[in-house]
């Protein structure tokens, strides 16, 4: 089975992200693989392992990323986790694309790779966080979309997932090829192995431009007009004290009731 894990590079989740002069700043915080996409790589590797024994041909996982040259570091993380190879799509014309644009570029790359059975995404990115790209990529490809999978099972050319939705779990089945987005219940992402890190550090990652993909630069339909820091919170905390837990609780309950938030 040929599996693609789509990943993105984002500022670390612990970064203090701020608007500075109309630009997004995360100071010297590191750029990392989007945490949700580590689950995508994990899910893809699980499927590679589950299907490799069953068929005569070996399954492979290719990590695919749109981004600047520096995004190769995120791809190397996927390689160190165990992905077989990695491809970066990089082009100055892609600096301000929106999710539909990203979906068109990813779909073109997936078609160029060819013979792909399964594309795995994380459920959203930490930056814009709109969570649209997986379903949009599926739509551009004309493939099934199995979103928010907590469990994936492949059998006889079909895939069945347990979707984690507000109301519980929904079990959905489709023929391959399919696009799948995964949630955390897929399993904790494995740590890069020593051998994996060595392999990743030596890897030559091919870079594809839009002309390699044979598509024009997509126009962004959604554009940002303003960037704002969140309104500052009234930060004066009133510490409730008392002789006993019961007395503290009594006072605190009265304070909360007086705020009329119940």
């Amino acid at each position: 089975m040929k599996i693609i894990a789509c990943i993105k590079q984002v500022p670390d989740s612990e970064a203090k992200v701020k608007a500075e002069g109309g630009q997004i700043s995360w100071r010297d915080a590191p750029l990392v693989i989007n945490p949700f996409d580590e689950y995508a790589v994990e899910g893809a590797l699980q499927q590679k392992e589950a299907t490799s024994g069953a068929s005569s041909s070996l399954s492979t996982v290719t990590a695919l990323c749109i981004g600047p040259e520096s995004a190769k570091e995120a791809l190397k993380h996927a390689l160190a986790m165990g992905a077989d190879d990695a491809i970066l799509v990089s082009d100055a014309a892609l600096n301000n694309i929106d999710t539909v644009g990203a979906a068109r570029v990813l779909a073109a790359a997936i078609n160029k790779i060819g013979g792909v059975d399964m594309v795995v995404f994380g459920r959203q990115t930490l930056d814009s966080g709109s969570g649209l790209t997986p379903a949009q990529t599926a739509r551009v490809l004309g493939w099934s979309m199995l979103g928010l999978a907590g469990q994936i099972k492949v059998q006889d050319g079909s895939v069945q997932v347990e979707r984690v939705i507000e109301e519980g779990r929904q079990s959905v089945k489709a023929k391959l090829p399919a696009v799948i987005s995964v949630v955390q219940s897929i399993g904790e992402p494995r740590y890069p192995s020593f051998m994996g890190i060595r392999k990743a550090s030596k890897a030559e990652i091919p870079v594809w431009s839009l002309s390699d993909l044979g598509i024009p630069a997509p126009d962004a339909i959604i554009t940002r007009t303003e960037l704002m820091n969140p309104p500052a919170r009234d930060t004066s905390v009133e510490i409730i004290t008392g002789e006993s837990p019961a007395e503290i609780a009594e006072k605190l309950a009265d304070k909360i009731l007086a705020e009329k938030v119940l």
Binding site: V140, M145, Q160, I165, S171, A174, T225, I256
Partner: protein, 342 residues
């Protein structure tokens, strides 16, 4: 402005945030009231359509077909795209749910548009719509516009007021065509006892790593260290749950508590979990990592209970208790039981 409001439902049970979208659509009309059209897709969904009328819709377009019995995104998207192509609305509003995010995403591809998700504010200037939305999970906000003639916007839950239900209000219900181009099949459900959902919760009581540190508890014999820790944490979350229950709220958790295996990740609040907007957020044994604070930025009031007076959570709290959550939380539950007459 021709506005459609998509009503999201699960087995005929509407997601309450759908009504918030109807309320917003009404307010966008301003002085020239617009005809508010609600969209209901499913099988046997007359009650959802009636409820949409009672929440302010003037008319409801219903695609009722056995192919729409279960939510399948490709079928729902084709139905929506066909409807939007023929009726040319300027704006389609959705509540933000697991279903609508994918539905709007796919229809946007069909309709050469794109989606603005998680809107927390919407301004209309002539025919220009400017949407405010959180990015970096609430660490920043951006204002965005769409260049498309058809705008698709999903609304953050609890960002817009819910209109009063006018029982008995009627309107036009029109049947429209359902598309049936399925690629997927639904094999079944296991519906969880989810209680109050974090997204809709007006009150959330959350537990952090600290809930496992009750020194007075003696775990049952035969557990290893990790099992004993989880057992203790579960006793801690029982106290958190009791407080949530007496307040009619939902139970949340920090990433540390989820990573440690104390509680399923669906309860996680914060950057890699859910961004929430309750009126009251009570943090028990949560130190306040930056990504957790980002996730609760929209909470109207935060109350923190933590034994460490220097914990960052106190910087965003209105009220704080520096103390033992295993004593304070049950005492608070008792106090509310008495005061609320429960």
């Amino acid at each position: 402005m021709k506005t459609f409001v998509y009503i999201d439902h699960f087995k005929g049970e509407a997601q309450p945030a759908s009504w918030e979208a109807l309320g917003l659509a009404k307010s966008l009309g301003g002085s020239s009231p617009l005809t508010m059209t609600a969209l209901v897709f499913g099988s046997g969904v007359d009650d959802v359509a009636k409820a949409a009328l009672e929440h302010g819709a003037d008319e409801v377009l219903v695609a009722d077909d056995s192919a729409l019995m279960d939510f399948r995104v490709e079928v729902f998207a084709s139905t929506l795209s066909a409807l939007a192509s023929s009726l040319s609305p300027n704006l389609i509003l959705f509540p933000t749910t697991t279903r609508t995010r994918e539905l709007a995403a796919m229809s946007a591809v069909d309709l050469n548009s794109n989606v603005i998700t998680d809107a927390t504010a919407i301004e209309v200037n002539g025919d220009k719509i400017v949407v405010t939305r959180p990015i970096y999970e609430g660490k920043l906000f951006e204002k965005v516009t769409s260049s498309s003639a058809l705008q698709l916007i999903t609304l953050r839950g609890r960002a817009f007021p819910k209109p009063e239900r006018q029982t008995g209000k009627t309107g036009t219900i029109t049947k429209v065509e359902a598309k049936t181009n399925a690629l997927t099949s639904v094999e079944g459900y296991s519906v969880a006892e989810v209680g109050v959902s974090l997204n809709d919760a007006g009150i959330i009581v959350s537990g952090g790593r600290g809930v496992s540190n009750n020194p007075s508890l003696q775990p049952p014999a035969g557990l290893d260290d990790k099992q004993a820790e989880i057992w203790k944490a579960q006793q801690g979350f029982t106290l958190v749950g009791q407080l949530a229950s007496v307040l009619g709220g939902a139970v949340g958790a920090s990433r540390a508590a989820v990573d440690a295996g104390y509680i399923p990740y669906s309860n996680q609040v914060g950057q890699t979990g859910k961004v929430v907007a309750p009126d009251l957020y009570i943090a028990c044994g949560i130190s306040g990592a930056i990504q957790h604070l980002a996730g609760i930025r929209s909470a109207k009031m935060v109350v923190a209970i933590n034994k460490d007076a220097d914990a960052p959570i106190f910087k965003v709290a209105r009220y704080g208790v520096v103390g033992d959550l295993f004593q304070i939380v049950p005492a608070l539950t008792e106090a509310f039981k008495r005061k609320l007459g429960k």
